[in-house]
């Protein structure tokens, strides 16, 4: 007999940064009664600021490999510098930041003077928040690459909790942009909520991310944040989405009280009487 409980994985994306994605994710995390939450924006993880988690475990993450030259063994033949396509070796020293981890220098070095190993590129945190809900997030070390693998690891661990602790919701605060980490954040998603803003840049970026998501064939819904800043563009967005057959689940009004709440480290749902909070609750109930 199959379990009748509705299980949903909800991924929140935005294309453009600063549209209110993290704020919305925090609000949904509060509204979800039995959920597990991950912040997959590993480049600039902010959700923990609003969720105020208690960290249970900090786990180092090994990303790609980097080369390094052993100065003692190196005979300065210069072959590595000739061969590297990323300008990562200068004066027999590998620039960690420019090194893309291809291993070419390591393989050609006639003196075997180059080491090529995985390095720690960040850490992830297994935490608990209100109601003992699981919350996972990660922080990449400065300058490290956007990592699809890190996102995948976070989601895998979170999925484990989702199954074992019989959660109803799996909320994913996704990364901005349209690159590989966005793809990783989408695996297993049941519904994607795209949050956008009524600006020309917002519309431009929304189109690009919709193009990416359409190849995934997942249910998509859009939320327009601060819609009253420019009702004309809000209309353009709605028209565009109508043609694409994508529903607008909600339009959140610009609300200064939201900003004040954020500055005090609270989230929108701490101001339930605000128009923004009311709209978000309506959106949540419609999902």
């Amino acid at each position: 007999m199959e379990n009748e409980r509705t299980k949903r994985q909800l991924v929140i994306l935005s294309g453009k940064g600063g549209t209110g994605k993290t704020t919305l994710a925090a609000a949904f995390s509060r509204l979800a009664e039995n959920g597990v939450i991950t912040d997959c924006d590993v480049d600039a993880a902010d959700l923990f600021i609003l969720l105020k988690p208690e960290t249970k475990e900090e786990i180092p993450f090994f990303g790609g490999k980097k080369a390094s030259i052993n100065k003692v063994a190196c005979t300065r033949c210069g072959l590595c510098m000739q061969i590297c396509r990323f300008d990562a070796i200068k004066d027999y020293l590998v620039d960690d930041i420019l090194c893309e981890g291809c291993g070419f220098c390591f393989r050609v070095c006639p003196d075997e003077a180059i080491e090529f190993n995985k390095v720690i590129s960040g850490n992830y945190y297994d935490c608990r928040i209100a109601n003992d809900a699981e919350f996972l997030y990660a922080k990449l070390l400065p300058g490290e690459g956007n990592s699809g693998k890190l996102v995948a690891e976070l989601k895998k661990k979170a999925s484990g909790y989702f199954e074992r602790n019989k959660r109803d919701w799996f909320i994913v605060d996704g990364p901005p942009g349209i690159g590989c980490p966005v793809n990783a954040s989408l695996s297993g998603a049941d519904v994607v909520v795209l949050i956008t803003e009524p600006t020309l840049s917002g519309l431009h970026d929304l189109k690009r991310i919709i193009k990416l998501i359409q190849s995934f064939k997942i249910q998509v819904a859009v939320v327009i944040n601060k819609f009253d800043l420019n009702e004309e563009i809000t209309e353009s967005i709605e028209t565009f989405l109508g043609i694409e057959g994508i529903p607008v689940k909600g339009k959140i009004p610009f609300d200064e009280r939201v900003l004040f709440a954020l500055q005090q480290g609270k989230d929108i749902m701490d101001v339930p009487e605000s128009n923004a909070a009311k709209e978000i609750r309506t959106i949540w109930n419609s999902l």
Binding site: G15, K16, G17, G18, T19, T22, D43, A44, D46, I49, L50, G64, K65, I83, R85, F86, I97, E100, G101, C102, G103, F104, R107, V108, L140, P142, G143, E144, G145, N146, P176, G177, I178, G179, C180, E197, P198, T199, L200, S201, G202, H204, D205, R208, K211, L212, K226, L229, N230, I233, F254, L259, F260, L262, Q263, G265
Partner: protein, 287 residues
């Protein structure tokens, strides 16, 4: 001189500030390196005079010579080549163009061909004439840093180049900010702004680039940000108060200094401050 404008967090106003700085400095060059979501063109509305495709190298298998030994697949650090029973597949969006596979193929069965990853456009604006350059990455493509490096090569040596970096602190931001003469970090009066500013400062310090901060959408209800900057001795170059009207103008594609022309003077003074810092740095022996 190259001044980069970056931000740990998306949506702080990085682009409108980069554009405004370019509009306030005579004969400047605006370079949009946010290749995943380039928005500068929306605010500047340049007349484009040239367009060039940017390519990366990709392996191509010569099946007359290939013996399906799988060495290429074993050596590829990015898992971009797989060898099936009687077929070899190259996954173009994952390939970094490092050249390892073609170099080490025992049958010399791999040659390299060029693949389009995006385009660079050049032009100029009509008002306050400035030169405009931007790069746009093809959707689904992963080689943002490769494109960014190509875009940077277009900087004009005897002019003031204002480089709009991608948001965040990952490798594409690093590719944009590395070896620039000065970096302006844009933040906002929220806990997210402060958190991401700290991350961005870590990166910029690691890169050894002198920097200063602009607080956009400033309001005094978030003293933690001001306190952090003053206690760390971080120069705050400008505070732009939050103004709903400015937000509305931005949504229509109007740059900050056109919405608030009095700011042009502030940007000019800020630029002079930056020039002094850059000159002083160049006078230090050993640099």
């Amino acid at each position: 001189m190259i001044i980069s404008v970056a931000s740990g967090k998306g949506g702080t106003g990085k682009t409108t500030i980069a554009v405004s700085l370019a509009l306030s400095v005579q004969h400047s060059v605006y370079i949009d390196c946010d290749v995943e979501e380039p928005n500068g063109h929306i605010l500047l509305e340049p007349v484009i005079s040239t367009q060039q495709y940017v390519t990366k190298r990709l392996p191509k298998i010569d099946f007359d010579r290939c013996t399906f030994c799988s060495k290429c697949s074993e050596l590829c650090e990015f898992n971009a080549i797989i060898v099936l029973k009687s077929d070899v597949m190259v996954f173009e969006d994952m390939c970094h163009g490092c050249g390892v596979c073609s170099y080490f193929c025992p049958e010399h069965a791999i040659i390299e061909v060029e693949k389009n990853i995006g385009e660079i456009r050049k032009g100029s604006t009509k008002s306050e004439p400035i030169d405009f350059i931007d790069g746009t990455l093809n959707i689904g493509e992963m080689s943002a840093t490769q494109l960014i490096r190509q875009v940077r090569k277009e900087a004009l040596p005897d002019r003031t180049n204002i480089l709009d970096a991608p948001p965040g602190t990952s490798c594409s931001m690093v590719a944009a900010v590395k070896d620039t003469d000065y970096c302006i970090l844009v933040t906002e009066s929220t806990p997210f702004g402060l958190n991401d500013l700290r991350l961005a400062i870590q990166v910029v310090r690691l890169l050894g680039v002198p920097f200063g901060v602009i607080i956009n959408k400033y309001d005094d209800h978030f003293p933690a940000l001001d306190y952090h900057c003053s206690s760390e001795g971080i120069p705050v170059l400008l505070k732009i108060p939050f103004d709903r009207k400015v937000a509305e103008y931005y949504s229509r594609g109007i740059p900050l200094v056109h919405a608030m022309p009095q700011l042009k003077e502030s940007f000019r003074r800020l630029f002079e401050q930056i020039q002094l810092v850059v000159q002083r740095k160049e006078m230090i022996p050993g640099r």
